[in-house]
């Protein structure tokens, strides 16, 4: 019985560099970079999908792709961009920056953090793997049941979609738990909640949204899985099931999810604006409070996605009201951002351009959002390109512009090198132009009646000219993203050295080297104000880098997060095998459950750290 305690005594991995060091890393900065690279890779995939869509719609009656392929394209474009690009891009920044911003050496649970990344990556790969076994999912990113039950959707791609999403959801939940605890518990001495940088604040709210919003989605996916795999009745209308059950459960998740996508961008902008306006954030407590209110109200507006399903007068009125109310805290933030810039000494570096672009574009997306709170207007616009225009203004003009501001702002901290301002400005203005040429005409297309999710249209419908313009705009947008990639590559090769604090920013991530040591801070700073690097500039004491034998004790790398994530995605694969051959599938699932259990025990009983390498002992 005592043997159980010895179960984890496999030596912890020690590789400081190379592939194994990345596979076993528990360093929040490396995990942040992994999230970032993954998001970039999937954004190229999702971008190509959208370019094929725009090629198909560029002129009437084209047949570049079949209607079936078109369905797959918009499904995977949406799913990829939401779950595999914007969410992990936000995660990249909060992994890298939150521990630095709060003056911590890592997150509260470094191995759980690695697990979140791996399980997310494996889920994303599983979903995309459906391409190699037949077809991409073609059910929309919302996967409405009962249309996705066996009766109406026979392709196996739907199974990949729901299992992939289910696996990715585990990673989101784990990240939510981890960052809630990290931000509440690992703040440097003196950093009260109301002294935290806004990006950290918004991440805290996102963590709670993940914790509370993913369970309804997970359960809804489980229902669908049981219906599809085991012939249960959750969505079986002929057995009396309610055809709206999925929509309710999905949007109870889906609307908070919108705030999961936008709040990190709001946090970034709230950090960038004060830095480049050289003055404190206007109305800091109001922005924090508005973020919290958005988090709460986000759970009370879901049925505005369902106005046309005939909810009845009272329900529609209630959700119309809550949808109008949630615009108020968002408006408060917009005025605070303008107030921050008012009277400041503005420096329009690239991060600032993207932050100001965010304010303008997100304002447009927000305004068209409030229009949908009016039920008759929403009924008119449902399933038209007006909606497509609206949510791209929120998710591209909002989230992506905000994330771009973050990328230009923090890239010097992460790599130690500056990006080219000249290329950056070209990138911004081309992206700004390309984005508006692509998405602004969609408002008009929607109003003149062009529905979403149609693979082509006739010339006499009067949509051809605007569609050609939209497709042309998407090429400008694509070109601007290529400029970004060039800029990143040049910066990595021969970018100007950044120094610790190139923007003269006020928060703690700029109080350490660029890129930071693996232990972040040689001595954990004590915080005495909201803007420590501004308020205490006079007495900056830069502690020298530590000799190796005095480095802070950091958690060692571990194999188990990778192993556990692998066994979880293989459980999903086991279900797919089970469909093909029951016995082999069950055998596979049992093997993977044993591996998963072994990984959990290995994790729990893992010795806390490896002995320091012999070379270090030589110093002592």
């Amino acid at each position: 019985m005592v043997a159980l305690a010895n179960i984890g005594l496999i030596p912890r991995p020690v590789h400081p560099t190379g592939v194994w060091s990345w596979l076993t890393t528990v360093d929040h900065k490396r995990i942040g970079l992994l999230y970032g690279f993954t998001a970039l890779a999937f954004s190229i995939l999702g971008g190509i999908e959208s370019l094929i869509i725009r090629a198909q719609l560029a002129a009437p009656n084209q047949s570049i792709v079949s209607p079936e392929t078109y369905n797959s394209l918009f499904t995977m474009h949406g799913t990829t961009m939401v779950f595999m690009v914007v969410m992990p891009a936000g995660a990249a920044f909060f992994n890298y920056m939150v521990p630095l911003q709060i003056g911590a050496r890592d997150v509260a649970f470094p191995r759980l953090n690695a697990f979140s990344y791996w399980v997310f990556l494996f889920g994303a790969l599983l979903m995309n793997f459906s391409f190699f076994v037949g077809a991409f999912p073609d059910i929309g990113w919302f996967g409405y049941a009962p249309l996705t039950t066996n009766e109406y959707t026979t392709t196996g791609a739907t199974d990949y979609w729901l299992l992939g999403l289910q696996v990715m959801g585990i990673g989101s939940l784990a990240a939510g738990f981890n960052f809630a605890v990290t931000i509440l518990n690992l703040r440097a001495p003196g950093m009260t909640l109301m002294r935290m940088p806004l990006f950290t604040w918004m991440t805290l709210i996102v963590a709670f949204l993940l914790i509370l919003a993913f369970p309804p989605l997970t359960i809804a996916l489980t229902f669908l899985l049981f219906d599809r795999f085991f012939d249960m009745n959750f969505f079986n209308v002929s057995a009396g099931a309610d055809p709206l059950l999925w929509q309710h459960l999905f949007w109870i998740f889906g609307h908070p999810e919108v705030y999961v996508l936008i709040l990190p961008a709001m946090g970034i902008v709230s950090d960038v604006l004060p830095t480049f306006s050289r003055k404190p954030l206007f109305g800091y407590p109001m922005i924090v409070f508005a973020g919290i209110v958005i988090g709460f109200l986000g759970f009370g507006v879901w049925a505005h996605h369902m106005f046309t399903t005939g909810l009845g007068g009272w329900a529609s009125a209630a959700f119309a009201g809550s949808t109008m109310v949630i615009a108020v805290p968002t408006g408060v933030k917009l005025f605070n951002w303008l107030g921050t810039m008012w009277g400041g000494s503005l420096r329009f570096k690239t991060p600032m351009l993207f932050a100001v672009g965010f304010i303008a574009m997100f304002l447009l997306g927000g305004l068209s959002g409030v229009m949908h709170a009016v039920v008759p207007v929403d009924t008119q616009q449902q399933d038209t390109y007006f909606i497509v225009a609206h949510f791209h203004y929120v998710l591209v003009g909002g989230s992506i512009f905000g994330l771009m501001a973050g990328l230009y702002y923090w890239w010097p901290k992460m790599t130690g090198r500056m990006l080219s301002e000249r290329l950056g400005k070209w990138h911004f203005w081309l992206m700004f132009a390309g984005f508006n040429i692509t998405f602004f005409p969609m408002h008009f297309l929607g109003v003149i009646g062009m529905p979403r999710r149609i693979y082509t249209y006739d010339a006499d419908q009067g949509w051809a000219a605007l569609n050609a313009l939209v497709s042309a705009g998407s090429l400008v947008l694509t070109f601007s993203v290529l400029l970004l990639l060039v800029n990143l590559a040049i910066s990595l090769r021969r970018g100007e050295k950044a120094g610790d604090n190139p923007w003269e920013a006020p928060s703690l991530e700029w109080a350490t080297s660029s890129p930071p040591h693996h232990y972040n801070f040689a001595v954990v700073p004590t915080v005495r104000s909201r803007y420590p690097l501004w308020d205490e500039e006079a007495n900056v004491v830069e502690p020298p880098p530590l000799p190796p034998h005095e480095e802070p004790h950091m958690p060692s790398p571990s194999y188990w997060p990778l192993m556990l994530a692998f066994s979880i995605v293989m459980l999903a694969v086991g279900l797919l095998i089970w469909q093909w051959h029951a016995l082999i599938g069950i055998g596979f699932i049992v093997v993977m459950m044993v591996l998963g259990l072994r990984s959990i025990y290995g994790w729990v009983y893992e010795p806390p750290a490896v002995e320091a390498p012999a070379a270090v002992h030589a110093h002592t």
């Binding site: 229902f223 057995a239 954990v524 009983y605």
Partner: protein
């Protein structure tokens, strides 16, 4: 920048232990998992077109298993109290009792599932079967994981020294165990008791008639 080298590096900002806070966050999330399952069951109450529904419940038998699970929570409290007073023997005794009571509960549930299937109610039979088996099965899985966890603590404890660190292991397992127990009280109350003895009317209007 200001540095204070006298700060304890292992302090937490709130004074709460990280792992304990993680468990609270997880339980907050788990409330939503069970909430979704129970809400779906209630929304579908009385909507099944064929087969057994709440008439199949045997309240006396489920009352016994409910009582056993409630008593396991008492044992869990005594186990924590044991290790907090430095007595590993007492802790081990009550951990074992908790785990055994939990296993008995799972045994009752397996018996119940078996009986229901014998009487013709499976997850495929009707809406009631789908929601009931999924919801109670999800709860049963929680209890099973709890039992495995408790036995793991039991065996691991032979290497322990009593102290705040080891007491925390037991306390966190206890948080989980009491939560799973409370969820069962809710399920027993509004699924079993209201289901068997409550009004014929639905507890909730159908989804499509919200506000209709």
């Amino acid at each position: 920048m200001y540095f204070d080298t006298t700060v304890d590096p292992h302090r937490t900002s709130t004074g709460l232990n990280n792992r304990k806070m993680l468990m609270w966050a997880f339980l907050g999330s788990d409330v939503l998992f069970f909430g979704t399952l129970i809400a779906t069951h209630l929304v579908y109450r009385g909507q099944s077109l064929v087969g057994h529904q709440e008439d199949i419940f045997s309240i006396p038998i489920t009352s016994i298993s409910t009582f056993v699970l409630l008593m396991s929570s008492l044992a869990m409290v005594l186990a924590l109290s044991g290790i907090q007073r430095g007595n590993l023997q007492t802790m081990r005794l009550w951990i074992a009792v908790t785990a055994i009571f939990g296993a008995i509960f799972v045994g009752f549930q397996m018996f119940e599932f078996h009986e229901f299937v014998q009487e013709g109610l499976t997850p495929r039979t009707n809406l009631f079967g789908s929601t009931f088996f999924t919801m109670t099965g999800f709860h049963g899985a929680h209890v099973t994981i709890g039992v495995i966890w408790l036995w793991s603590l039991f065996f691991a404890s032979f290497k322990w020294k009593a102290g705040t660190e080891t007491a925390l292991h037991v306390e966190i397992a206890g948080l989980y165990w009491h939560f799973v127990d409370i969820v069962w009280v809710v399920i027993f109350g509004i699924v079993y008791l209201v289901g068997a003895y409550g009004a014929e009317d639905r507890l909730l209007p159908p989804v499509s008639a919200l506000g209709g």
